[in-house]
């Protein structure tokens, strides 16, 4: 079993942001040139377009220990690639429902539209998610899974236990 993790008050959450290069990345740049301040927890991954962001990346990010994930792109109608964000919107509308159903707390997964002019919004979104996730504590679900062996005790059928013992 995994070691008992204590949620200490100095918990620094890991937040991963998947952003499109034309709007949100540029918006984050603007926050920088405007010298706005926000928590340093976020790590930004740049994509050409939100349409490029595969749901598997979000899953992968959680598996890699992210406590919060942000997906952000151009506002509807502003997509540099005509409609990439529209496709992404549908894809993630469905995917978040799936994650919710398997028990991921959707508080940890944030979607936003941040344009190249919205440096302030970028700061707001990142700060809010970081603080929300900080308050929630570490995302243990996937971390625990990674530490678990097969037949981790959840199987209590006697036949299987027998079989397992015999191996």
């Amino acid at each position: 079993m995994h070691p008992e993790k204590t949620i200490s008050s100095d918990f620094e959450p890991k937040v991963i942001a998947f952003v499109c290069t034309w709007c949100t990345y540029a918006g984050a740049d603007l926050a920088g040139t405007s010298r706005m301040q926000y928590p340093s927890n976020v790590r930004v991954l740049k994509f050409p377009c939100t349409g490029r962001i595969d749901p598997v990346f979000i899953l992968k990010a959680f598996q890699q220990g992210a406590d919060g994930v942000l997906v952000s792109g151009c506002h509807p109608g502003d997509c540099h690639y005509i409609a990439g964000n529209f496709h992404a919107r549908r894809r993630f509308a469905a995917f978040r429902k799936l994650l919710e159903f398997v028990g991921v707390d959707l508080q940890r997964l944030q979607f936003s539209w941040v344009s190249a002019a919205e440096g302030g919004k970028w700061v707001e979104v990142v700060t809010e998610l970081t603080e929300k996730v900080r308050a929630m504590g570490p995302m243990m679900e996937f971390k625990e899974l990674a530490l678990e062996e097969q037949w981790s005790g959840a199987m209590i059928s006697p036949e299987l236990q027998d079989a397992y013992r015999q191996i």
């Binding site: 549908r90 894809r91 469905a94 429902k97 799936l98 028990g103 996937f142």
Partner: protein, 307 residues
């Protein structure tokens, strides 16, 4: 359960299949027919591909005809254009899969000769194939069937289908129960379910929509999903699978039936179908759509979840 389901017409259906299969093979209309043949035990069946009219007498249809035969066309689809038109026996649920496959350019309608089954339901399990069909042993998918009489087939035996007794959907009830739990409780539920997975990939093998030449989950450059049968990889595999089937799966529930570890796989698929219906008013399997719900968009799509 005493609630017996009337399947007295299956005998006539079987006979009609035999006659029709013999006819279309005999007339050279098709080169092969994918159908069910009688198994060794009474009532049991096994899928078969016959290529001559003489073989048609082996064909049958019983409450144990659970298999979705559509899967035999995707796995063998490369040969279809060369071998000519193929006949296939389809229940309404199987037809939905075929319809989906046509929408994804995997099959063409004119390559197929569809023999539709007026279906009153099949067994949940084929362990006791001769057992009378009741509300108790009926396959869960049949409880909510909306395609008892497949539409648009080339041939459907003319039978007055007995009116079905409405049964409550067990999937809907289970989905509702899970939705009522907290995320942590749901996680615990699925953790237990996915922990059972032995990564035998029977679900993938039996699924008509898992027609990729190389599955994303088998790739190692990069390794998107851990392939070992450990909880982390199992969970990722089932999430990715459910996502890939979203908007495509029409609910034949074969994955769930073949799962040796009894993981309620169709529950995930039904949940996604429900969400796509609510989000985009889309239901899979009713029409050959140019685009599925996740390969199209509307400007007015819901974005209430986006900041």
């Amino acid at each position: 359960m005493i609630n017996t389901i009337d399947i007295s017409h299956y005998g006539t259906v079987a006979e009609s299949i035999r006659i029709e299969a013999a006819r279309i093979l005999g007339e050279g209309l098709v080169t092969a027919v994918v159908a069910y043949t009688a198994g060794r035990r009474a009532g049991s069946v096994q899928p078969a591909i016959i290529t001559s009219a003489a073989e048609a007498e082996r064909l049958t249809f019983t409450a144990a005809s659970v298999n979705n035969l559509a899967v035999y066309l995707t796995k063998a689809k490369k040969d279809i254009p060369r071998s000519g038109r193929i006949g296939i026996v389809v229940k309404g649920c199987d037809l939905k899969a075929l319809v989906g496959l046509m929408g994804e350019s995997q099959l063409q309608r004119e390559q197929l000769y569809l023999i539709g089954i007026p279906c009153a339901g099949v067994l949940a399990s084929t362990v006791r194939p001769a057992e009378p069909l009741t509300a108790g042993n009926l396959a869960p998918k049949c409880r909510e069937c909306d395609a008892q009489l497949p539409e648009g087939c080339d041939y459907v035996p003319e039978i007055d289908l007995p009116l079905p007794t409405p049964l409550e959907s067990t999937y809907a009830a289970e989905i509702a129960r899970l939705e009522g739990l907290t995320p942590a409780e749901r996680w615990a539920y699925w953790k237990e379910q996915f922990a059972k997975c032995i990564k035998c990939y029977a679900c993938r093998q039996v699924c008509p929509f898992c027609f990729c030449e190389q599955c994303l989950c088998d790739r190692n450059k990069p390794q998107m999903v851990d392939t070992t049968p450990r909880p982390a990889g199992n969970t990722a595999w089932h999430i990715v699978r459910a996502m890939h089937l979203a908007g495509r799966c029409a609910g034949c529930a074969e994955c769930e039936r073949v799962c040796p570890m009894d993981i309620p796989l169709n529950l995930l698929n039904r949940k996604m179908a429900k969400e796509l219906k609510e989000l985009f008013d889309y239901e899979a399997g009713f029409a050959v759509n140019e685009k599925g719900p996740l390969t199209m968009f509307m400007e007015k799509d819901d974005q209430s979840f986006i900041k």
